[in-house]
């Protein structure tokens, strides 16, 4: 029981790191980006290819996955995404679905459609018992890394100058611009870091979630659930939503394997019907 809870928390933390970038960019530019999972996939494949083809150690690949995906995100933001911000939501949805289709087929073409395997180093394998709770070492590793990232993000957002600029821009981009904040630059950085985090999440999750070319489509719904249920105005909202989703999914798959996904989707519909702004969001100022 507690082991399941532990696994659920690990899964939830992973989902949070994967989708926090999406939450921030969606809150900032009101942009519906369905292609967020493609960046996560890019990070996952960076790790897999570096490990399996070049023999780079697992831990060293993680920062590389982050940096590579962040650069990729910055490039895409600058060239393709920026003209899309002012468009209607329908255009944004179509555009980002198009990107997903291209990413899925492109990876399929260059790397192959098979499931990618990675072997985490031996010191992260296996599990130990702590007060009769079986704890997987790799799961613990994920929780620690993601926990540290969450704290760091929260600190950056609440304590630094960049954080206050970002929050101002989320609240009202026009007024922020009027106060001399370079909103475009803030957004470029945020998008890059958000994509980088997704890439890191994809790299960390390659062992747990599995990695194949359909990854962006398979997990798109999960990211969107986290963002829409958690709301886009805070960091804690998506965090709690991700934990809730992770725990519900793991528990659901264990206790009612036939109904797992069914429960998750039904829960989402109920929550969104009762609270359209998300569980933890407040009404947007616009």
């Amino acid at each position: 029981m507690l082991t399941l809870l532990f696994d659920g928390v690990a899964y939830g933390m992973l989902l949070f790191v994967l989708s926090v970038g999406l939450a921030v960019t969606m809150g900032l530019m009101n942009f519906i980006n369905l292609a967020h999972g493609a960046f996560a996939m890019a990070g996952g494949y960076t790790t897999v290819l570096l490990m399996n083809r070049l023999g780079v150690p697992f831990l060293a690949t993680l920062p590389m996955a982050f940096v590579f995906t962040a650069l990729l995100g910055a490039l895409f933001e600058r060239t393709l995404y920026r003209p899309m911000y002012a468009r209607p939501h329908l255009d944004q949805v179509l555009f980002s679905i198009g990107l997903v289709f291209m990413a899925v087929a492109g990876v399929d073409y260059f790397i192959g459609s098979q499931q990618q395997m990675i072997s985490v180093p031996s010191y992260l394998q296996g599990r130990f018992d702590l007060a009769a709770v079986g704890i997987g070492k790799y799961r613990l590793f994920i929780i620690v890394i993601c926990g540290l990232l969450t704290v760091a993000l929260q600190m950056v957002l609440s304590r630094t100058r960049f954080g206050s600029r970002l929050r101002a821009a989320v609240d009202d981009p026009r007024v922020a611009q009027g106060l001399g904040i370079n909103v475009n630059q803030v957004f470029l950085l945020t998008f890059a870091v958000g994509s980088g985090l997704a890439g890191l999440g994809g790299a960390l999750g390659a062992e747990v979630l599995g990695l194949d070319p359909t990854f962006p489509l398979k997990f798109m719904v999960y990211f969107l659930i986290v963002v829409s249920v958690g709301g886009t105005t805070t960091i804690t909202g998506p965090l709690l939503a991700a934990l809730l989703l992770g725990i519900a999914d793991v528990m659901g798959k264990y206790y009612a394997p036939k109904l797992g996904a069914f429960i998750v989707y039904t829960l989402m519909i109920v929550i969104l019907t009762l609270r359209p702004q998300g569980l933890f969001g407040h009404k947007a100022s616009k």
């Binding site: 939501h89 179509l94 555009f95 087929a105 399929d108 969107l224 069914f262 989707y265 039904t266 969104l272």
Partner: protein
Amino acid sequence: MSAVQASLKAAAAWRWWEMALGVAAVASFFLLSGHALLLNEIAILALFALSLDLILGFAGIVSLGHAAFFGFGAYVAALFAKHVMPDPLVGLVVAVAASAALGALCSVLVLRGSDLTRLMVTLGVAAVLYELANKLDGLTGGADGLQGVVMGPLLGRFEFDLYGRVAYAYSLVVLALAVLLARRVVHSPFGYSLKALRDNRLRATSIGLSVNLRLAAVYTLAAALAGAAGGLLAQTSGFASLDGLDFHRSADVMLTLVIGGTGYLYGGIFGAIAFKLLHDVISAWTPQYWTFWLGLFLVVLVLVGRDRLIRPWTWWKRS
């Protein structure tokens, strides 16, 4: 007759190209009967896209889960034919009624919240139905699909043939009826009020329109038409499967509609023709990777803008 009445009348008048489209549809049945199977698919997709146009183009609801009603209609039609009676027309009516009921039920869910919330809720409804159909394998056949559906002859006389000629005629007639119905609805005061609340919900409310009732009504109507499309597919192919509820079907129909253009009723028909032909050509050329070209097409379509893309003579002009 006042000037306003006259302008409304003029807007609702039949255009020459609408007539031409009708003639072309009838002609295609006689001249292109060798391709009736493909034409049947196009007619069904057009009907499906038309139903999405009613909520997306006229009421402004962005839905990523319209396949929910399509797949539901398909299952209802197939199950009805298998267990109750094999007559296609009665089956279609039942499928339409069931989908309309489901649509009315779900319309409560799309009234509130932002575009994102609505996107998620529609997607969620389709996903829930997909999971249900997958789990209830005793009833639906699960992942294998519902097999062994034998349809009776149409009107008690015309058997469905292998070449799809009867099927195409059947789908075409249903599509024509649906277009007539949708046309009537769109040019009615109700249709104009939908456009008003699409453009500005706040103002529409303040001139006294009951927004929620109207949205619910059009959502139900769209669900009924989507169910008709699904029912047609199940009846003409004698098969219903999870594929009908899948996410890619919702995405495809949205793409179809966007290619054809939203908000003028015939976008679904032109889009369906373009989409199916495109699909046929590209997947014959590169079967495994055709989604790449589909994705590229979408990205270019949105970046360049649909209006510019289908009017090449504007490409070199400054906007």
